[in-house]
Symmetry: C2
Subunit: 134 residues, 2 copies
DNA sequence: TTTTCATGTTAGATTTCTTAACATCTCTTG
DNA sequence: CAAGAGATGTTAAGAAATCTAACATGAAAA
C-alpha cells in the first residue's frame, strides 16, 4: 500500500530511464504520447519517472521485442491493470484467451535480470525493476 | 553483494535529492566539497546520486540537526565505514567511546520514516532511504 | 504503390545544473 | 568586543539536458 506510493514517486529524469531501459528518448516520449506511460512532470515541465513507470517501460520493451505493436501492447497493459476486485465478465475472459493469457504474459515478462558491465548501460527486462532495487 | 551494486548506481539528479533529503543544493555541494559524499557525474558533469549517497546525506542531516559540525560528522561517518574484517586496534576503540558509541549512533539514526503530504517535499530521516524503496 | 507505424534526426526554446564569487550569520577565541 | 572561521544563502554566467515540433526514413499493411 505505502509501497504503491514509493513505487510511484517521480524520481528519474529521462536520461536515467534511457540507460535503465535501453530505450531511446524518442521511443519513451512516443510511448507516452500514445498513453502507454504517464510520467510526472517537474515544475519546469521535465519528465520525471517513477519505479512503476520504468517497470512499465521495461514491459513495453519486452512486448515490442516480441513483435507486438503499440495497439497490442496497449491491450495487454490494460489487461494487467489491477483487477481491483470485480470478477471479470465473460467478454474479458475471452479477450484474454484470444490474445495472450495472463499466465503466458507473466511467463513472458518473468525472466532473469541481467545488468551489462557498465552502469548506464544496463539492459533490464520485464517489469521487475522494483525487485532490482531494495 | 549485488545489493551494493544496486545501491550505488548513480540515479538521481540533485533536484530529486534536494526534495528527498530536504537539504539545499548549496548544502549538498558543500558536503561534497568537504568529502562527506561522492556522487558520480554524468558525461556532462552533472551530479548523479545513488541510494547510498542519499542515505548518507540523510545521515549527515540527522547529525547536523544534532548540532554536530562537519568535522565531527566526518569522524562519525568514517567510523561507520565497513570494518572490513580487521579487528579494531585500541586507539580506534577509544575514539569510538570518546565521541559517540556505535550503539548510540545506531539509535540516533534509527527513527520512524515519515513522508510529508506532497511528493517532492518528503522529509525522510536517518540513513534509511533504501528501506523506503523496495 | 500509397499509407501508416515506429523511430531517427534536427532545430530552437526553456529548464536545470555547474562553478565561482560575494554576502550573511553564528560561533570561537584572543 | 573584534577578528576569524564555519555553514549557508544568493547571484551571475555559462554549459548541459530536456522539451516540443517538424521533417526524414524504413518496414509493414492495405
Amino acid at each position: 500500500m505505502s509501497d504503491e506510493i514509493r513505487r510511484s514517486m517521480p524520481l528519474f529524469p529521462i536520461s536515467i530511464v534511457k540507460s535503465l531501459t535501453d530505450l531511446s528518448a524518442r521511443q519513451i516520449r512516443y510511448y507516452e504520447e500514445h498513453n502507454l506511460v504517464h510520467p510526472a512532470r517537474s515544475e519546469g515541465n521535465r519528465r520525471l519517472f517513477s519505479f512503476n513507470d520504468v517497470d512499465r517501460l521495461l514491459e513495453i520493451k519486452a512486448l515490442i521485442e516480441k513483435g507486438i505493436n503499440l495497439a497490442g501492447i496497449k491491450q495487454v497493459l490494460s489487461m494487467q491493470e489491477v483487477p481491483d476486485n470485480e470478477p471479470m465478465d465473460q467478454e474479458q475472459v475471452e479477450e484474454i484467451h484470444n490474445d495472450l493469457s495472463e499466465k503466458e504474459l507473466r511467463r513472458m515478462l518473468q525472466q532473469e535480470l541481467h545488468t551489462a558491465g557498465r552502469y548506464g548501460k544496463s539492459s533490464l527486462r520485464q517489469g521487475e525493476l522494483s525487485r532490482f532495487f531494495h
